[in-house]
Symmetry: C2
Subunit: 806 residues, 2 copies
């Protein structure tokens, strides 16, 4: 269903990136010096001209480094992509309608056309994505969230993925399935930013900085949402809420600048294409301005909010349930894994059969596309009161909600129920797709339902002042859309997005109230859709502290840290290294001064240690040893006897040669009896030598915490700095380690797991002042009589299971 | 003019807060245990009843700890405060109008009434604030920014300040001066939150957590803006942009929740008071929805944006110039300091004389209040085309812009120019006041001016498609207001505030474009108004990295760090302590293992060391020594002779008693000859003893950086964690220190100052990979042959001047 994240890939990518960066830097240095050389070399007649050219070039290159040029290019590019994708989707959908309309003589043929078209498109999309770049599957927001946390998922930002995502998304949305383009657009914008960055780094050197790239990715996320909905402000806020834990306000303008430019170009393209007369909202509404709603309608809006909260949580749950069901049913799973394209085809077949307009689709406005449904739902007329039939004839689309036998309320209810599970199911198809827009439409339908009920209940409005202000069900639809999409994504900024989408802000208070209530309910029941996918995909993440997280202030690092830290000492021998590498699976190891002092000096990556060890015991040194030994043997023999010398010597050197050849050709160990014991001895000797850390990369200042740091603060620091582990020290002495895993456990409440001490219930009443200073005094004493101490900490064998994640 | 911040106050406040927190914790523990004791004590007939009561109580107390209850209370309180303040201001302004209107028979009396009224109000406000709480002066946003960075400015959050701010603000705004209520409301909301927090801590213990309080203060800032403008979204965003450097997204909902609730109650109060029929925007506009603006009008909007950018920078510059002029002119300054109320009175007199409606005020709509001006400026009719006279009669206020002799353009220009310097001057008066609203009005007037010019230029609109869409100057006014206020405050969210204020979002793209351009121009010329005040008041701050800050990636910590770190070693004697305390003025000192190893173990505050030293050399130990010595003397004497013994003994003991009495009564040193040399010897001996750190509070994990950390990352970490200094270590060894001061210097570009090494110009081309590992190797070698090293780092006498700020 979803691609899995592998840790090794990330590490490899990191090293690769470092290598590339280094070589790039060297190149640019050498190029520049070459330019200067040239300048000095030919001081002929056109020297001035050359100097001028070089200066111009340098000026242009320095300009290319400016952020705003990058952001304008990004905005322009994304607006074009968004517009082209929209254009292609519209053509696809028109083609389906045209086929369906052209075959109206035969219902069976009509059905075949209605069903085959989306099945073909979705299957193509799934297959294309699968072959070209499986990373393009899904919305991409969870991955972006992980990447912005500092984890390198390099395959997610390649050109291949870009192509797969754009083409796959166009086909998937062109099929008319209930899928959205918003999530994928966040990913596409990030891809654009990454590729643009790579392209621009050909001109200047600034594009190679990691923290700058992260800032640009954050801006790109805003551009993605902004140019998808022509909603710059909402885009920036939504992308912040969805992808960031901590947001740098200095990065704010980047998002606004790029998203505004992108939204502007996106809408200007529509004007140039004669779709619109001027720049307006995407789903413009025309509610009355002077009296948008009555105060007494607020309870109804609150009800929409609360119900949307439950609905949102249910949607997330349902989505996860479907994924897990298919994963767990091994028989189904195995079958589907073999025929990877069968699952998408089956799901599409099911959904499009149910929406077939002459069939069941007639009860749920099946012939409307997603966009058309939304436009009709935000309509500012009241359907229930005036009756749909007489008024709806002049705009074609709204007719779809009308059915001769069935009430408009029933149509709405069927629409909501069917679309709900269809959307939850459709978003599990392995194609590039998002869930925002489907959820938004369902929310609008729910709001419209409540609004129509209110209009039927109070036909003359609620206001008692004499003037009749009839109820506007379209306003309820706006509120419902914002509330449900807010509940599913756990964001408040959907409120801003609806204002920008509809071009009206008059319902601001109802929308805000409903969105906040929906968030309150949904957040207490389920994680957000993106966090849910992060868990399913097992991406390296850190859960948020919940709403009522005040008990987190009372948990301290000492309660959750792992006390048996694996470490190496500065004067350890290779044998210790070997043992440490054998017993644990840690990614990084602490380097301490000595086992007695335990003073933390830095941390070393496992890979570095492995290379140290292989350098010491590797083939070059082994061969050297054999050669030396042979020479020594030769000398000895020549001294001992002259008669047998030649034979022996010949045999020994033959043996050596044989040994060498074996090593070279077969690389297996054919130990000739004479050398066998020698090699083993040599190995033992080598292992007993002291490690030389000179050629080893050491992180000289790994992040340190104190025992009494609260969980709340630890969480803040981990998410602020994107750490995956931190050492706990006390006056320089290493006493524990906290990794993402321990933190995750503590936040999720399962602090009773092995290796993690549970805090006594009255821990929060501890007097912090005195115990802390006593503690420090003890630590100091330990430092004082370092020599006399008998028991050294950290020398027990630690439990294996707790270290794998570090 | 502005209050000055003293470092000592902050330190004192910090200690005070710690003491209070501790005692509070102890009290709550003892209270709880008492409840349980009671429960066990009387197990009589109503035991069940009691248990039930206690449980209910406990449940209620646990609920009180929930964030949302706090936020609702805060929102409710602030809405009431905002509404009451508005109500009082309206009454004050009406009273002035009534007086002015009643005296229309005599122009001189009219002038007296028009001028005296504001002078009295402003003088009262200034005097009241000065006496009760000088901290209430000004907007309060700069202080909140500093407090949210982690600095404790305790006096700014007391009940006294609250009272002074609310009453002072009401009087100041009631005078009709060009002042705003938005900045002070941010401060008032924070005061409310702090006081509410203190009040609620009587029930539960959660309110004593520091990081929680900071979160609540951030939410309170949002509430302040939100209930001032009835703009919840804009409020949250504006407060984030203005007060935070890094924003925790998990804190987002708090702001939205409280601000929405507050804005809701604020508007509901207006409905209940029959001011409004239902909840709508504060300055509702009625622009047409279907064609808000033409694409070809965009250049005009861009011009507004760029001009506003320059205008905003000029405003900040002018404001600072006025403050500095008055401070620097010593004669004026001394005179004004004596008569503190003279300056406000003079300024008010000047401004109100110029706005006197029958006088010069007739050319600048002088009789309109700030609110009325804004309403008329956002009017959706065109003044220039239709002529003001015939249409303006039915709404009284707009007549003010009409003058029989003078064109409406001239009126607007005079209004803009006069209000510009008046607002810059008025905001320097020492009363609680903000500058947002005056700037907003000036921006609206400027936008209206451009809009009217466009309308006069293109009387039939620009659209070429046949349909006539006349230009809407009101839309230009909206754009201008957002752009100028955005430029002055360096925020983008003013765009959202105008949408919420006007209730229309149709001009979103022009507003966004103008705001971004205005920000780009203003940010490259001047700091924001709040940063400017921070600099004037010398609050502890960290400047932002500028827009085009890519050169900051190339500066490393090693280029800016101070290499001569003051440190103490674990086995140092009291003499070293004494010397270190005498030579430097550092707030904290590094504790290293030994001068040879330089391994950083922690940091100790200066105050702690001082107390250690005074413990060692203080009176109790001194007296003890004298007593001991006397006893020894006595023994010696009794051994040596029996005849002279009694005399000697009596004399010695008398001397001792005299000495003791002197110490007790006069506390001066009357050294009796015999003891004089003894005390000096004893002191020398004491100073040579090793320091016992057992009773000393040590920060065991001060923040550490590496030499190669970039300036960009250092800035991020400092602002993320609110540090004021960090040690630079290399594999455990202390090699330097970076404080806010060095960072500030480096950011502001003056890296050539004493004690700070300037980076070689080609430093950015250094090959990072190799030199780094070499460096580490060297460090390791240093560790290896620790004993053999001859030159120890950090033993030179460091320059004094560089350390005062640490």
């Amino acid at each position: 269903m979803y691609g899995r994240y592998t840790q090794e890939l990330g590490v490899y990518a990191k090293e690769e990136a470092a290598r590339l960066r280094e070589s790039g830097q060297r190149r640019s240095v050498s190029e520049r010096s070459r330019t200067f050389d040239l300048l000095e070399y030919d001081k002929g007649r056109c020297a001035k001209c050359r100097i001028c050219t070089v200066r111009c070039q340098k000026f242009l290159i320095s300009r290319v480094g400016e952020d705003w040029i990058f952001l304008i290019l990004l905005g322009l590019l994304m607006a074009l992509v968004s517009w082209v994708v929209d254009f292609c989707i519209a053509i696809c959908l028109q083609a389906q309608k045209w086929m369906y309309g052209g075959l109206d003589s035969n219902v069976f043929l009509q059905y075949l056309a209605w069903v085959t078209y989306p099945v073909v498109l979705i299957t193509f999309s799934a297959g294309f994505t699968q072959i070209l770049a499986p990373q393009a599957v899904g919305s991409g927001i969870p991955e972006m969230k992980t990447i912005l946390r500092g984890v390198v998922l390099k395959e997610y930002l390649t050109f291949k993925t870009f192509v797969a995502k754009v083409i796959g998304l166009t086909c998937a949305l062109g099929s008319g399935m209930p899928l959205g383009k918003e999530g994928p657009f966040v990913h596409i914008a990030s891809l654009c930013a990454a590729l643009l960055s790579k392209f621009m780094s050909l001109f200047g050197g600034i594009y190679e900085n990691e923290s700058r790239n992260i800032e640009m990715l954050a801006a790109a996320c805003a551009v993605g949402v902004g140019c998808c909905f022509a909603a710059p402000i909402g885009g920036v806020l939504f992308s912040i809420e969805v992808t960031s834990t901590f947001f740098a306000v200095r990065n704010y303008w980047r998002g606004f600048f790029a998203a505004t430019f992108s939204a502007f170009i996106f809408r200007v393209l529509a004007v140039w294409n004669r779709d619109e007369e001027t720049i307006t909202a995407l789903f413009k509404t025309r509610f009355r301005l002077d009296f948008p709603f009555d105060l007494q309608e607020l309870p109804a809006f609150a009800v929409i909010g609360i119900a949307s909260g439950f609905g949102g949580a249910l949607f997330v749950y349902l989505n996860r349930l479907i994924v897990q069901f298919i994963r767990n049913q091994k028989a189904i799973n195995r079958f589907l894994m073999k025929k990877r394209l069968l699952y998408p085809a089956l799901v599409t077949l099911l959904i499009s059969t149910l929406t077939f307009p002459p069939g069941f689709g007639q009860f749920m406005a099946g012939k409307l596309t997603q966009k058309e449904s939304l436009v009709t739902l935000l309509d500012n007329r009241t359907w229930a009161k005036q009756g749909i039939a007489e008024e709806f004839d002049y705009i074609g689309h709204s007719q779809a909600w009308q059915h001769p036998q069935v009430n408009v309320f029933v149509t709405l209810v069927i629409f909501i129920v069917m679309k709900f599970w269809m959307s939850a199911l459709a978003t599990t198809i392995p194609v590039p797709c998002g869930a925002f827009m489907p959820v938004f439409v369902i929310g609008a339908a729910f709001g419209r339902l409540v609004g129509e009920s209110m209009a039927a209940w109070f036909p003359d409005g609620i206001n008692t002042d004499g003037t009749i202000y009839p109820i506007v069900p379209g306003g309820y639809a706006v509120v419902g859309a914002a509330a449900l999409s807010g509940a599913v994504t756990h964001t408040v900024s959907t409120a801003v997005i609806v204002f920008e989408l509809t071009g009206q802000i008059s319902h601001i208070l109802p929308v805000m109230i409903a969105v906040i209530l929906a968030n309150a309910v949904a957040q207490s029941l389920q994680p957000s859709l993106y966090d849910s996918i992060i868990r399913i995909k097992k991406l390296p993440y850190l859960p948020e502290l919940g709403w009522g997280h005040h008990e987190k202030y009372n948990i301290r690092v000492e309660d959750i840290m792992v006390r048996d830290v694996r470490y190496i000492t500065l004067n350890c021998c290779y044998r210790d290294l070997h043992n440490v590498l054998l017993t644990g699976h840690l990614k990084t190891l602490a380097l301490v001064e000595s086992a007695a002092s335990m003073i933390l000096l830095g941390s070393i990556e496992r890979a570095q240690l492995q290379s140290l060890l292989s350098l010491q015991l590797g083939r070059p040194r082994r061969l050297e040893f054999i050669r030396e030994r042979a020479t020594a043997e030769k000398k000895r023999l020549s001294v001992v006897s002259n008669s047998d010398a030649e034979d022996d010597h010949r045999r020994a050197s033959q043996e050596v040669r044989f040994q060498v050849r074996c090593h070279r050709e077969l690389s297996t160990h054919f130990f000739v009896p004479l050398l066998l014991t020698g090699i083993a001895e040599w190995e033992e000797m080598q292992l007993d030598e002291q490690v030389n850390f000179n050629n080893c990369k050491i992180d000289p200042a790994p992040f340190q915490l104190v025992e009494r740091t609260s969980l709340h603060k630890t969480h803040t620091i981990f998410s602020l700095l994107g750490l995956d582990h931190a050492y706990v020290t006390s006056i320089g002495r290493l006493i524990g380690v906290v990794s993402l895993k321990e933190l995750r456990k503590a936040i999720e409440g399962s602090v009773t797991v092995k290796g993690v001490k549970v805090r006594p219930p009255l821990a929060s009443f501890r007097d912090s002042g005195t115990s802390s200073s006593e503690n420090e005094a003890t630590e100091l004493h330990n430092l004082w009589d370092r020599e006399k101490r008998m028991s050294l900490p950290g020398e027990h064998t630690p439990p294996e299971s707790d270290e794998k994640s570090q």
